[in-house]
């Protein structure tokens, strides 16, 4: 529908507007921004993208994004290999790493069980988690399930719980409750109810 005076411009705008959340107008704004940048900067941008897609590999142990067969976290001698935190995707690894509160290893499932979206257990890295726990059952003491607090997350938690039960490792889920800084008034009933059931001793919350 839009008319551009240059096929190069048209192509670049079309490519950008394929990205999620980026419409034609934003795409054009980004492309015109790139046009005003130094040539080397734009080439570096373009190469960062194509190199990432072509050279990136996934950690053979935890499926996190990596530059080598084992990712930095799995390779690190400073990480606690007795705890594995199971997450949906790479973004969750980054989010948890940024809290600075977790020093164990990860396992990236690549999604959660969601029959509505046609995602079953076989589409996820669940078998590899089971094998990993089986192989390291002498070392691993705890598996933390850090999935979305949605029905799909709960379903996946339950499925993983059943799969991992035979190995006698501790299985925990991340705490659900009122977010820090939130007003009780605006919390939904389910969260508020759970936060009362799973209350922690006062001492505990002070020392954290």
């Amino acid at each position: 529908m839009e008319t551009f005076s240059s096929r190069l411009l048209q192509a670049a705008v079309e490519e950008f507007s394929r990205l999620p959340g980026i419409g034609k107008k934003t795409a054009l704004r980004l492309v015109l921004h790139l046009l005003r940048q130094e040539k080397e900067d734009v080439i570096r941008f373009s190469e960062a993208i194509s190199r990432l897609r072509q050279e990136v590999i996934y950690c053979t142990q935890c499926h996190n994004i990596s530059d080598q067969a084992l990712c930095e976290i799995c390779r690190s001698p400073r990480r606690d290999n007795t705890v594995i935190c199971v997450v949906e995707d790479i973004r969750d690894v980054i989010a948890i790493e940024n809290t600075g509160q977790f020093h164990g290893l990860y396992h990236v499932l690549g999604g959660i069980i969601s029959p509505m979206d046609g995602i079953g257990p076989n589409d996820l890295a669940i078998d590899s988690l089971q094998q990993r726990v089986e192989k390291n059952k002498e070392t691993i003491q705890e598996v933390i399930l850090a999935l979305s607090t949605t029905m799909e997350g709960d379903t996946t938690n339950f499925y993983l719980f059943k799969k991992l039960k035979p190995y006698h490792v501790g299985i925990s889920v991340i705490a659900r409750g009122i977010a820090i800084g939130d007003d009780l008034e605006y919390a939904d009933e389910v969260t508020l109810g759970r936060s009362i059931i799973n209350r922690t001793p006062y001492q505990n919350s002070l020392t954290k």
Copy 2:
């Protein structure tokens, strides 16, 4: 601050977050999206960007973005070369083209006079507009100033008016008034005042 398990990922996220209006979180979301796409699609994206920056040229006559020395609009025999519409940037050309209401040629200034941002007349394609009007003064009947309706736009309009006055071509500015579909109640006083001063005969607005 953020820790990524892959330098390739880090580089791509950093590049994306340099774009205007794109923060670290959005950058990561876009990069993870690209990672899930087919390799060929990502390479095509990357190439569209680097080719654009390396191969794009600007029309020698109107400074619009182009694939050749003269842009498609300047080359077209179907465009009315008696009217030149002066705009700030390429985006305005696209916006006006999309209205389908203008069939003349353009002149892209590359900005407007803005002493606050250190942009003076010499930073803009004003000399080339003057030369263009001088060279084609037999053909050109009207120059339409379609700049922002801001103080900077008004200043630039006045500057251009003085520069072009000697050539005895018609000089007009785009109509300012109440946007179509807008409630009078919410219009600012200056716009509303101008729209009363510059009222048009009823006939005129019916036939448009």
